[in-house]
Symmetry: C2
Subunit: 355 residues, 2 copies
Amino acid sequence: MSLDTTSEIEIIKVATSKIDQVDFETLSFGSVFTDHMLVCDFRNGAWEKPIIKPYEPFLLDPSAKVFHYGQAIFEGMKAYKIEDDSIWLFRPEENYERFNKSAVRMCMPEVPEHVFIDGLKQILQLEKDWIKKGKGNTLYIRPFMIAIGSGVIAQPSTQYRFMIILSPAKAYYSGEVKVLVAEHYSRAANGGIGAAKAAGNYSGQFYPTQLAHNAGFQQVIWTDDATHTKLEEAGTMNVFFRINDTLYTAPTSERILDGVTRKSLIDLARREGINVEIRSVLVSELVDAAKDGSLKEIFGAGTAAVVNPIVGFQYKDVYYELPKMENSFALDLKEKLTNIQYKLAEDTFGWTVEV
Amino acid sequence: MSLDTTSEIEIIKVATSKIDQVDFETLSFGSVFTDHMLVCDFRNGAWEKPIIKPYEPFLLDPSAKVFHYGQAIFEGMKAYKIEDDSIWLFRPEENYERFNKSAVRMCMPEVPEHVFIDGLKQILQLEKDWIKKGKGNTLYIRPFMIAIGSGVIAQPSTQYRFMIILSPAKAYYSGEVKVLVAEHYSRAANGGIGAAKAAGNYSGQFYPTQLAHNAGFQQVIWTDDATHTKLEEAGTMNVFFRINDTLYTAPTSERILDGVTRKSLIDLARREGINVEIRSVLVSELVDAAKDGSLKEIFGAGTAAVVNPIVGFQYKDVYYELPKMENSFALDLKEKLTNIQYKLAEDTFGWTVEV
């Protein structure tokens, strides 16, 4: 992909950047946004001309469908700046394709590539000063789409807004993560929307996650809703289990997000000669492996944290502490993946794309 | 309940009503709104003073959590005006309690009674000219709450907006309704949010419902997501089945909404001497009953349509037409329920509440 400078995107620049007011050393994830945003509306059956304009609030009718029926999807991506000041994306076409899959599942229009990909490259060029060099520094990218049509009849909207907003971020560190295995609550139904990055999937997790917090855990490992016997995701991330020297992760399905970090880690691990088995892991297997010492690691995988090592899990009121590993797969794979993202290692997979 | 005229609700009236521009004979459901709306914000851990003000769009930050994580809930209610010009609500405390149950499940703050109930009564007094007399005419009431806090970290918001908007409505008639029994898609997970009136539950149904439309059906009858053998809801309504002279409807659960119309119809039917069994009906039972002629009626039950008779259903590519009934339970119960709502029959249950 290359930057299409002929694409018709209108750009209205801010008079004065707010970048000097931002302390890039003390960023709280997802709370500071850059000077501009990309906006593209869908009306009368077609996408209008995208516009890059100053970041600002916008007006919506109280009956806008996003408020009542939750037609809303998003993606999470990152941009990286390297020593020579060039800016890179990691597998953006994967996010673009998944975004449009989410759109179809939520009965929303697919976004054209020139809006999503070219629009993203243009706004990143404009905001390049917001991307700081150095491993761990990134610009978090949030493309999203909401239903802006008005009316409280429960039907798909005819009007939508696609936007890209950008938030500078430091390396995401969540501290020691203890997880609770879900015995009652769940995040997705068979035949439901769990595989879509739909807004409603996330708010549904807040209450069970809060209950876990109150009990001293940072995250929930979700199990299948029908039997609560299969391990599926960790918080808002895909989850990997290392039993002896084999890595296990659940297959993607209607209930499990097809994570870009997940699939990249699978490829990386296999290149490293690690045996990776893509199959459902049962809670009972996890407990048995913890008891006999063969369970070595659990980690979440997602764009924000990249890899999130888990120190222990609780199931049916019993807490199982994981061993401290010398040769942690989680830390090794995280290092190798971020080295590719920051162009510190050769990208033999062809995953990185220059802006 | 009585109108608390001492409650501190600020009222800002429109300069000129738009009511004269509205043709009350050709209303499309949920598309026209009255002159005013009620707004009450939650910030710094407390509800602020409610305000009734002109209906208008409002500003939100692009990173507002409702756009990204779908923290949004609502209720549907109606107000009725009778011959003596008095205005009535139907079991408003049921909607109020369910709203707050939805709030808890979605990790949102509960709304105080003086905001929801007294606020509703005050705005209805102000908008009483928008409620037309005559059976079928109603003012549809949409209380809702959205997360307005900004930031794209997947955590509950700290700021919320509760609103009430009002839409004049004619009797809801959806034509002949043929339904498709869901064999693959589903609306709710065990341990999920199906029992909450959460925005995300509705958009998740749009795509499977569109597929049903494309195949010639108006609605989907949802089955349990784990086995697709139990009949659960019809579209966005609870569903009843009449086999011989017994009415069946599924018990409320985490997957099934505790509908006010549903529970009222159960009480009414029992008062009429109809045998009502509250239990899961299997798809196989429905097919068997359709084949042997004992299946007499299927109908949806909800606030908007009250009762929505279904003329036939399809399952595994076979369409089953229902008989035309002389003594339809659906039509009889609808007549009796709306007579109570419009004060045309004695309200022995104490369901109606004067504004």
